[in-house]
Symmetry: C2
């Protein structure tokens, strides 16, 4: 069996996410699996590096699958893009070692979150940003972001209800860049809990609006209590940028 | 009466153009006029710098209107953006001399046309590009573009059927930039005929596909015959970038 790794871009607007919890067929994974199975003439099981929520986008989601087909990767890439809907694109396909697994072997992930901070609509990127009218205090957001990096138990910043799995993660960096009305937050870490990037973003926005202070962050982390953190930012501003192995 | 100049951005995807020929209400001008009339409490007549076709976008369309209202321009700008749909944004509003007219006083216009030249979908800009799979010969397109600049009768490059008005125009520059799969054509001139930028673009694409040669351009101009020029590029790749006075 060959093991094929693909890198996928998608506009998540129309989808219920990468993979649904409730056997909803309207998923990115579902569309890819259907096209792959048809092209290769066998039932394909596609493993992604992780789920993305409904409405969340990807510039570089990674997935892999095993196949008996001998179709060259270049031909597969071309055919995939031909049959996939126009809001899903496969940017590379390559044969990898049989032991490679897109989720289990991932060592680092980068997400970006895009805020449009202006009362004037962002006409062309409105589907890919969170529009916030009131001016955000970006220096305060950067001080809070520094408090949130490192090795921490991020349970307060996740929607995980209970469970035995560890909620400790390492965030290497949270960078916040401002160019005019565009404010982009970049999160790099070894893994992220369910809803974690969106709750971190919502909390940082509350700091930017002076509803919370950078000094509150340590207390929120220690509380392990979702109620202490801020709102969850909408999915449409979030992009999975890359997965490293 | 005050004379107010506004600069407008829009995503033309959902609209029948800036102004429809057939009393179609689904136009950018129609939306703006309705919101302005409601905000200012009087019937507003809005003059645009020129029409844009169905599906065509604008980064800097210019329009003006007369009003008796004393509402400050800053307040008007804020309220306009609040009530307009999210695919229309007003980026500036200022009081100008009573003699200013957005169409009659325009001296230069710039349009850009965006081509995505790759078999892999442009997932995020698909609504704003013309996707062409086969590789385009950009140097040949540049040689043809040079033949098309200057002072010419552009009748062959327009959908004007007949009429007494001059079809002579000056194109100062047609620049073609390529960055990976993105090919952007920029047209600057003193005015453009109906469908002219789209037919110029379609003709240049035929040169890029080696269906026409740069040397054909002089013959097409001289023919004054629409049948000699190339296809009309789809509206969705076209942007009105700026209007100068």
């Amino acid at each position: 069996m060959r093991n094929i790794k693909i890198v996928v871009q998608y506009d998540g607007t129309r989808y219920s996410g990468w993979q649904s919890q409730e056997h909803d067929e309207n998923t990115i994974q579902g569309k890819l699996t259907a096209v792959l199975s048809r092209l290769l003439g066998e039932k394909i099981e596609l493993a992604g590096s992780g789920r993305t929520d409904a409405g969340v986008h990807a510039l570089g989601q990674v997935a892999n699958f095993k196949t008996r087909s001998q179709m060259p990767c270049g031909e597969l890439l071309e055919k995939l893009n031909h049959y996939l809907p126009e809001d899903i694109g496969v940017i590379s396909a390559e044969e990898v070692d049989g032991r490679f697994h897109s989720r289990l072997n991932a060592v680092r992930k980068t997400y970006s979150y895009h805020i449009w901070n202006s009362p004037v609509h962002n006409v062309f990127d409105r589907r890919y940003t969170w529009a916030i009218d009131q001016p955000l205090d970006v220096p305060a957001m950067r001080r809070a972001a520094a408090e949130l990096t490192g090795i921490h138990d991020y349970k307060a910043f996740s929607s995980i209800k209970r469970g035995k799995k560890s909620t400790v993660r390492t965030i290497e960096a949270i960078e916040i860049e401002q160019t005019g009305a565009d404010i982009t937050l970049s999160f790099t870490g070894n893994g992220f809990l369910y809803h974690m990037v969106r709750i971190l973003t919502g909390t940082l926005v509350e700091v930017g609006l002076h509803r919370k202070t950078p000094e509150d962050m340590a207390m929120i982390l220690e509380s392990l209590d979702r109620e202490q953190a801020g709102v969850m930012a909408p999915g449409q501003g979030l992009f999975l940028v890359r997965v490293e192995y």
